[in-house]
């Protein structure tokens, strides 16, 4: 398993600004993931972040809006750029550990855009 922390836990931002969310894993992992969860809904994958390569984005998500960094095997950041109220959501990071393909999740960042 893995213990994952995220910062900030919540934030209220003005439209047009950007927010960077940090995700820290307590062990080295190859694959990290970023998800968005809108109120009352399931998780939607934004992108997969592998260390040493560019992030792979899912349909509907673009690098200019959600740039991701993965500088080492324990850390990743997701930036939500030029925010609008539609970006209000919970953002979660996860890491895949071991060989069982399970993912362990951080506690999430609740973002409100006004």
């Amino acid at each position: 398993s893995a213990v994952i922390s995220q910062k900030p836990s919540r934030d209220i931002c003005q439209r047009g600004t950007s927010l960077t969310i940090q995700c820290q894993v307590d062990s080295q992992v190859t694959m990290m993931f970023w998800y968005r969860q809108q109120p009352g809904q399931s998780l939607t994958l934004i992108a997969t972040a592998n260390q040493g390569s560019e992030a792979t984005y899912e349909s509907g998500f673009v690098i200019d809006k959600f740039p991701i960094s993965r500088p080492n095997l324990t850390f990743s950041t997701l930036t939500v750029s030029n925010m609008s109220p539609e970006d209000s959501s919970i953002y979660l990071c996860s890491a895949q550990t071991g060989t069982g393909y399970e993912q362990y999740f951080g506690p999430g960042t609740r973002l409100t855009v006004t």
Partner: protein
Amino acid sequence: AQTVTQSQPEMSVQEAETVTLSCTYDTSESDYYLFWYKQPPSRQMILVIRQEAYKQQNATENRFSVNFQKAAKSFSLKISDSQLGDAAMYFCAYNEGGSTSNFGNEKLTFGTGTRLTIIP
């Protein structure tokens, strides 16, 4: 594309009773992994149980067990002796793992979730 379906948006159960949450999925792969995650109001996603498709034996973790029917593409979660702390959203999830057709892209596909209420 793989899909995961949870047909029960909400379920409720009396404390100490047993409840079963349903999940079906669609895939053309023969090897894959299935999971149940729990998300309480704290919003922390917690792994409850994992099943590998090539294993016929159903996974069990204490009060949690699954009924995995590979041919029917069904993966239900049974919670025995329900406790107040079991109240949460439960998500079924699918991962192709490192299959030949999915190498390097081991992402989870989630169902829409089932909200479980425990009645004291």
